[in-house]
Amino acid sequence: MSKEIVKEEAPPFSCVVSAENRGLASLRSVRWRLNLGILPPSPSVDDLRRVTADSRRRYAGLRRQLLVDPHVAKHGGSNSPDLVMDNPLSQNPDSTWGRFFRNAELEKMVSQDLSRLYPELGSYFQAPGCQGMLRRILLLWCLKHPESGYRQGMHELLAPLLYILHVDVERLSEVRKIHEDHFIDKFDGLSFEENDVTYSFDFKKVLDSMEDEVGSQGNSKKVRSLDELDPEIQTIILLTDAYGAEGELGIVLSEKFMEHDAYCMFEALMSGAGGSVAMADFFSPIPAAESQSGLPPVIEASVALYHLLSIVDSSLHSHLVELGVEPQYFALRWLRVLFGREFSLHDLLVVWDEILTADNSPLHKDSGNEESSCFNLLNSHRGALIAAMAVSMILYVRSSLFATENATTCLQRLLNFPENINLKKLVAKAKSLQILALNSKLSSSSFAFDVAYNRSKSAVSGHNLSPGPVSPTTPLSLVPDSYWEEKWRVLHKAEELRQDSLDKQAPSGKRRWSDKVKLVLSRTESDPSPARAEKYKKGHTSSVRRSLLEDLSRHLGWEEDTETGDCFDTSNIEDRQSIEVQVEGQNETSIDSICTAEERCDSGSGTSVSEENSSVFSDPASSGSSTTNDHENDTEKSSVASNLSSDEIDDHHLNNPEDSPLLVSSPPEDVLLNYPHENESSGKMVSASKQKRHLSGRFQWLLKLGRNNVSQEASDKGVITETAKSANRDGKSNTSDSSTAGAPRNSSPTIQRDVVDQNVMGTLKNLGQSMLEHIQVLESVFQQDRVQVGSLDNSAKNNLVGKGQVTAMTALKELRKISNLLSEM
């Protein structure tokens, strides 16, 4: 392990351009020392050497002072130390023995941690020399900073620093081997041969030897001059020249002084070197002085992290908050050790390269600045990058986080970060998020610092986003989807069961359309979310129907269609038969009725709509063949409708009842996940164009349907439904909204308009109101139904219908509640 050298391309870093030119980039220890502020950003090698030497002197002095050996007699000091104070049993805290015992305790704690450090790289880290160095460094730092003491985790911050120093020293020794000549101790410019004779003067060969010995730095013809080497090697040589500035103490890459250098780096890292992010803060339990929240810094930083996550991906954020996964459960370890435990050592070095490259100076100094983030962590580039890195890591495992409803599993995933990761991608994402984090001025002051802040806040921040700049698309919220999906599925199956004996000729398109309608309803009746809001903005008119259709088309347009009609139908038939009607009938009929009402509203003529409905509900549990035949037979609408239907089938197939609701929602999630990186505007364009196609196609089809229905009316199924609907139809046509009736005629031009900015709330309210109307209509329908049931002969149908009605009532009540909610919004 110790032979491994990490070679990487030189990443650009802001501080020292000259250093880069001089090829210091591959020497991590030097680069990090520059980034941490230990070495000055000066182009001169001598300056570097001087500063290095000073820092080393400081460390040596500290060591002499603090590492106490009570046996060492104090020379030149007091003649006889006061033994009453200075004896081993002395209780006096100032006595050397007292200090000795305290140090011994500290050392014991440190040793405990060190023995468990990087066991997988034990050949380096568990070697006694290395352990001794680590122990001393930590001890001295803790003695120097008694207010913070030693906390577990500090050793993990120190270990990589020592490692990179070691790596660089190894590199140096390699360079030495290659370019041995330049390292030869030739302080006179002369080199001496093996024999002892200093002035070996062979008088015969005077001329030859003169040429050899006098010259630029070469002592033999083989050696090139220093300048001919590439700058990196040159720098290494200059830095390690034993006779440069400050002599041996100034050798920047020196094995002898690894401990000193590591201490300096560790101290700079912990104290922040005058910058904003100081690692020592993360270990302290007391809140920082200028903290607005009064929380310990690491908790505050965790909150900052979640804040950033909520901006970037509010659904994941709300999911985690829902599960009760507090940020500090995992962020404590991430932040305190600066991701040391999450990555392998080599990956970690890459990550730290990035973090340390980021500038640590605080961004907003004046407290009067309203816009400054109240999170200390986000107050500097480096801090923002750390937060961004953490969020990027969370996003990396987001699919597994969504897949579980258990807080423990989430934490397990977060705390056992996967081994084989695409580090470049992770880091690149972190960088992009860093910019976001720095610019985040959103409601940070209104952000509650309660550890369990509610989802409403996240919803608020989500809403704030919608008028804001383009942000990564947020997928639909989870819970409502699964609920409505479930309802739809149930509804669909029950409907199929009810329609055994009915006309099979109704085109598949019709049924599909109703299914689509249901789907649309299921989609739109869930909680408003930013994505929904955007959806609503896209050409949403006062017609609820149209908006639903648009939503559906958009949604379906996003879905990948893979399934065929056959698979879907056969599986669905099986499913339906296995599920009881009664349980699901309620849902079915409620949505059925809504569809009915909706469909009535939508089409221009009341008659066609109602008949359409009847035909829709008269759709039999058609065999797969019939549907496919119908599917293929459709002409004008086929291109559009079939797309829709296949999409829909796919969607339905995805919503296979065998899966748990969660998994049901996750495929759509995954599907949607494929699109978050799409440019939103282009997506809108695509979907808008699709909408136009779909809607124009659909309305053509509607008209066709109306015509078809009239012809098929005779062969339609149940007298009940027909009569009911006919009775209802009359009433409905009177009561139907003039706006909704008239609107469809204007639909095509309006649809062809692209994005119409509407008030989100207004449209939702409309939806709620229309739903309420529909519910009223339905209730009246079923009351009529009940009257007419008794007069029927067909007992089977009676049973089905009777059961359906009972359940329909309950379903209607639920629907009423939902509409109330929506209208309140």
Binding site: H71, L83, V84, N87, P88, L89, S90, Q91, F101
Partner: protein
């Protein structure tokens, strides 16, 4: 860096009730690695108390000890030093250096610790040290009533031992120290 506490002749409960409070406050568990006790504790409770200070406890039998099964003499090796322990009432004349030296040669130890006289003494003698820690409680002895409480702490470090003497004189703790270096190393014996 081994700290060894040497004390004895407490005579609790017969002649003294307890250690002086100032001594007691100094003796906290955790600092001391070994305790050697010359004898005359006299009761088991004292042994238990000493055990709480340090688990490694060595006692030799004094004439008033109620526990009969302590040995007469004991030797142990700590670091580079061999220590010998005996109560001292067996060696007559009591407290005589030459006689004690005989015992030291007999036991073949570098440091001999004995008591019974209730007086602190420490002699460097023939390449070795003979130490008498005195009485830790200041109990009167067969010889005299004028006894100052005292005990000894040895800091053994390699070839060097520093002997700290703690005495309670007029209510104040006085500390003194003696340095002693050994010239030759010891091979570990099978004691």
């Amino acid at each position: 860096m081994v700290l060894v506490l040497a004390l004895g002749d407490l005579h609790i409960p017969h002649r003294a009730a307890d250690l002086p409070p100032k001594f007691k406050s100094m003796l906290v568990p955790g600092k001391i690695q070994h305790i050697i006790c010359t004898g005359n504790l006299c009761i088991k409770e004292v042994q238990d108390y000493l055990k709480t200070l340090c688990p490694d406890l060595h006692i030799t039998r004094g004439e008033y000890d109620e526990e009969t099964r302590y040995p007469e003499t004991k030797t142990l090796t700590i670091g580079q030093f061999k220590l010998g322990l005996c109560h001292g009432h067996q060696v007559i004349p009591w407290g005589d250096l030459d006689s004690l030296a005989m015992l030291q040669r007999q036991l073949d130890v570098d440091i001999l610790v004995t008591g019974h006289t209730h007086q602190f003494t420490a002699y460097k003698h023939e390449g070795g040290v003979v130490i008498n820690p005195g009485s830790a409680t200041g109990a009167y002895s067969s010889i005299t009533y004028d006894v100052n409480p005292s005990f000894v702490l040895m800091d053994i470090d390699g070839l060097r031992v520093v002997v700290y003497v703690y005495e309670l004189i007029d209510g104040e703790v006085k500390v003194d120290k003696i340095d002693f270096k050994k010239t030759t190393t010891t091979t570990h014996s099978a004691h």
